[in-house]
Amino acid sequence: MKLRRRQRERLSLGIQYLVFVAIIAVVLFAADWGRLKDAFFRVDIIESMFPTIITVALRNTILYTLGAFAFGLVFGTVLALMRLSRVAPYRWLATAYIELFRGLPALLVLFLVGYGIPIAFPEREIPGGVFGSIAIGLGLTAAAYMAETIRAGIQAVPKGQMEAARTLGMSHFTAMRTIVIPQAFRIVIPPLTNELILLTKDSSLAYVLGVTAQTIEVTKFGRDMLNDRVNATPLLVAGLAYLVITLPLSQVVRRLELRYAKAR
């Protein structure tokens, strides 16, 4: 018997659902939930992590991330403008920086900032202590990535925008600041959000600088608890803590994009 087109489509979709449900069922029934629960979901351990995981660890993760993002955004914008500059040495410098710092692992850069700068300038301290070191250490790498994103955003703004602004008597700088860059940032909101989420997770590298009980962040906190209690529950809680940041963030950005949609 020959099936009609809609019958074929329905049959094909039905098979896909069936396979999907079967896989979930196997995982659900075959896994040893009792042992999993003992290893990853001990309520007493979860309770012992609160409130410190929120008041100290999550707070520090957010602070480190925002610090690195802010530093990266400002420095990245400067790099992007240098790459687009008419002055050739600026272009070379920015290109060299971007190529170098995109290629180095963030962990290494953090190390160099955390231990290299104090050796180079023994008289001075990085402002903000661990927070400052992390903001700069992670921000230096983030800036290299963001510079390329922002440059693409600036180039995506039609040339006529700069021309119109200049014919109204604005200087190149004023036109960039009030006309081109605001439009460029609307264009690059999605990739910059990506960068922010990546930074949230990179903030877990803070441990290389030797954090204390006051400066601990989510991952290190979870690992310390893991060693302390010889149980993996803290890792599950730490993972959920990251989602507490990233999921609402995606929502906020989606709203932001919708609001800007009519002004594009």
């Binding site: 119109a164 200049r166 014919t167 109204l168 008597g169 004023t174 609307r186 800007y260 009519k262 594009r264």
Partner: protein, 279 residues
Amino acid sequence: MTTTPSRPAVEIRDLHKSFGSLEVLKGIDFEVGQGEVVCVIGPSGSGKSTLLRCVDLLEEPTAGTIWVNGVEMTDPDVEIDAVRRGIGMVFQSFNLFPHLTVLNNLTIAQRRVLRRGRAEAERIARANLERVGLTDKADAFPAQLSGGQQQRAAIARSLSMEPKLMLFDEPTSALDPELVGDVLTVMRGLAEDGMTMMVVTHEMAFARDVADRVVFMDGGVVVEQGPPQEVLGAPKHERTRAFLARVLDPTRVERLGQPAQSPEPPEVPGLPMDGRHTV
């Protein structure tokens, strides 16, 4: 900066402009008097838009001198931002700032460049919106306007800087035919108010009715210029005649590949041939 009111609004001497090896302007001498309305016409690629853009220094001339309101634009030390305040420019693609409301499109340069306060800038902006018939669109974003409304807003934006000279670069070429009239009416009003205007256009009716002088360009040179009734009504040069014939009567064009002097073009059944295909 010295401005001499007796000098022409625009004076151009022996202007050359090349893009790479392509010479677009081949020695232009050109003037626009104070209060004069000059329409520049010519086929695409004739260099008329480049000429207009050179006046505002959006294109850097290769050689020659340009004075605008008595200031030499081609002086390497010219305070370009200051001179441009006195020149309004209207683009084919409007170039409104899409992230700002119409009102803020009109106020941003007043505030950043002329350092006017918010209240004063908004008063001047609203007066200019009224002038172009967009009073009710002050709080809209450009994307919410029709093409004709966007272009009128762009004209109002330029007028808010109170320029002495207005440059128009094919202002109606990107518009739907039924929206062209609104923009031309605004421009005609400006001309009647005594604004000095240089208009690159394909709107022959506008050139005929509004221009004090029509300039025909072809191949990077000024071929012919004079009052509209002469240039448009009784052109002296063959190139002008051929251009006007194509523009004014696009369906009566010679067949592709055949000489212009071919006898009466044969009646083509179906669609008429498009004048653009012969360029």
